[in-house]
Amino acid sequence: MSQITDAYRGLKLGERWDHAPKPVRWFVMLLVVAFAFYLPYLNILPFAYIRTDLTSSGSDWASVLFLIVVYMIVAVGLNVVIGLAGLLDLGYVGFYALGAYSIALFGSTNSPVVEAMQSKFGLSEEWAVPFVVCIPIAITMSLIAGVFLGAPTLRLRGDYLAIVTLGFGEIIRITARNLDGVTNGAAGITQVPVPPGPESDGRAFFNTIDAERWYWLALAILILIIFLARRLENSRVGRAWLAIREDEDAASVMGVAGFKFKLWAFAIGATLGGLAGLLFGSKQQYVEPNAFMVQLSFLFVAMVVIGGSGNIYGALTGAFLLTYLPERFRDLVDWRPFAFGVALVLVMILRPQGLVPSRRRAREFDDRREEAKEAAADV
């Protein structure tokens, strides 16, 4: 026992975590996940102070949680693009919008696309593409958009890429606003479908009142995505991305097919953005172009950068803070943009690497000790 405590002494929190036995880590993770699922019902003082609906002007707590998780999905996706592959994408909201519009266009009985299909195939006016089918449609559409945007533009580097992607985000929004015959233009599309589920009291399982169900759904998806994203990070793909970010020419000479991996990063990022947009559109049950302003893109980038570029948990932290804090301090209405600006500047001055910077290497702490010992004995 004393050996264990000795081993822990003087280690930083992150290293302690890496050093902890596997069952302990699993147990802690399970606790965190359980707590996350319990959050909507959090009512024990003093913890309940983190709720956003304490005052009458506050926003619905579960809805805020849902939005946080949706933005977390966005942040994980954008972290692949910006944090790992080092591609500055300022038009990420374009993919988010595409995801939301995919489900609205194909799933809503109110959408011109569905109406056209109804009259063409003689279907009833109630018919629309089922929600479950809309998911692969949304994913495919955003994936294709990612590849289409990436294929010609990924030959650009740095700032040039940022400008092109910035344009892309605006193109999607402006197209959605002006293509009246397809997207209903500025009026938007109503009756966006919700996920299927057992009905009760004549209301769908996923309805506008029980927001915590939406939150749980999004949280489950987020956990799955984190799991997959970590797999990518700890593989030859993740290393290729890092190598490209660090020195693209050297990576290329070392056999890393730069363009291919950059395109993958873009496509994966786009897919996650689309998925988040789908959840958002479905929960709102209403999609309109003004929900996808360019500011949202900047907010997404800010989440990744403030949290700690290149680290999933950093991105999650960033997404949480930048979504939660403005909602929690809604009372300060007029001061919020100011506080946001000051916070951004402070983070950039005091902690330019982000709040939770990448410490991926520390994870190999156990190996490190062992291998170093081995090597010392060998040489």
Partner: protein
């Protein structure tokens, strides 16, 4: 401590042989005979606007040799390297690797064909650990796709020693196989460690590349290049900034690299090192080849002496 061992080993042939025999795991399989032409520059000319960086350069690298490429500053040595590794495309002439024309091919494809290099001004991946740097090199030979990484779809029937020891995992691996990702990852890790040991920097394997001392960074570059299993490895001034002891050390390392089955092309300014380690030397000046031959021949060649070595007394 490792420094000393290497310094000794480079002067003592027996120790060198003993040392390499420990590294069966990282020796490469070569597909040709020693002495055949591996890489050929055939009347290569490279112009940047009005500047002629390489002018009708011809030389060959034969399998299994250590070839030195020397010349004064601006002679076009690094340009020749860049042309060979796909960074530049020659304006005229052909570069053939194993008989295949490689001019104009993308750098990563050239790497896959079997050419790797280091850089004159170290270009590691600074925010990655030494180990990860080498693993990027190993990844060049790995095949797992993005989908394979995400869903572990590609399963391989493991051999007996690849099976886990404990019960349930072992049975699972027997039934479902092991994903190629896992096996490649494991092999890459082992090979990377082996390579770091080979170049003598294994004790700091998990440190970020940017935190490593200069000498370690130079060696790490070599390890990373070796990881891609190149038949031809090009070292661009590997001894730059080294003290005499380290240079001595490096000479031993270069010989041991050749003994692993690699062919070595080395650009170097330090004449003692070049004359001591190479089998043949090609001399460039103002983008033109002015001499080629054994170290002794080159050291005696009056043109070379005039262009590069300075007074004859110093050269000998």
């Amino acid at each position: 401590m490792s420094e000393q061992t290497h310094a000794e080993s480079s002067t003592d042939t027996d120790v060198v042989l003993e040392d390499t025999s420990n590294h069966d795991q990282i020796a490469i399989e070569t597909s040709g005979e020693v002495g055949e032409v591996l890489l050929e520059l055939d009347h290569v000319t490279l112009r940047f606007g009005g500047v002629v960086a390489l002018n009708d350069v011809n030389f060959q690298i034969r399998r299994g040799e250590i070839l030195g490429l020397i010349g004064p500053n601006g002679a076009g040595k690094t340009t020749a390297f860049n042309a060979m590794t796909g960074v530049y495309t020659p304006t005229e002439g052909a570069i053939r690797f194993k008989g295949k024309e490689i001019a104009g091919i993308k750098p990563h494809t050239i790497n896959h064909l079997g050419i790797a290099r280091t850089f004159q001004n170290i270009r590691l991946f600074p925010e990655m650990s030494a180990m990860e740097n080498v693993m990027v090199g190993c990844d060049a030979r790995h095949k797992t796709s993005v989908v394979g990484v995400l869903f572990r779809t590609y399963r391989v029937r493991p051999s007996e020693e690849e099976l886990p020891e404990s019960g349930i995992r072992r049975s699972l691996a027997k039934v479902f196989g092991i994903s190629r990702h896992t096996l490649e990852e494991r092999a890459g890790r082992r090979r990377s460690m082996e390579l770091l040991r080979f170049v003598g920097i294994a004790d700091r394997a998990h440190e970020l590349a940017r935190n490593l001392p200069y000498g370690y960074q130079r060696r790490l570059e070599i390890a990373r290049a070796l990881a891609t299993e190149p038949e031809l490895i090009c070292l661009d001034e590997p001894a730059a900034g080294f003290n005499p002891a380290e240079k001595e050390d490096l000479m031993g390392l270069i010989r041991r690299i050749r003994d692993l089955g690699h062919t070595v092309l080395v650009i170097e300014h330090d004449m003692k090192l070049v004359l001591g380690v190479t089998d043949r030397i090609v001399v460039l000046e103002f983008g033109q080849k002015i001499a080629e031959g054994s170290p002794e021949e080159v050291a005696r060649n009056p043109k070379v002496i005039a262009a590069y070595l300075g007074e004859p007394d110093d050269a000998a």
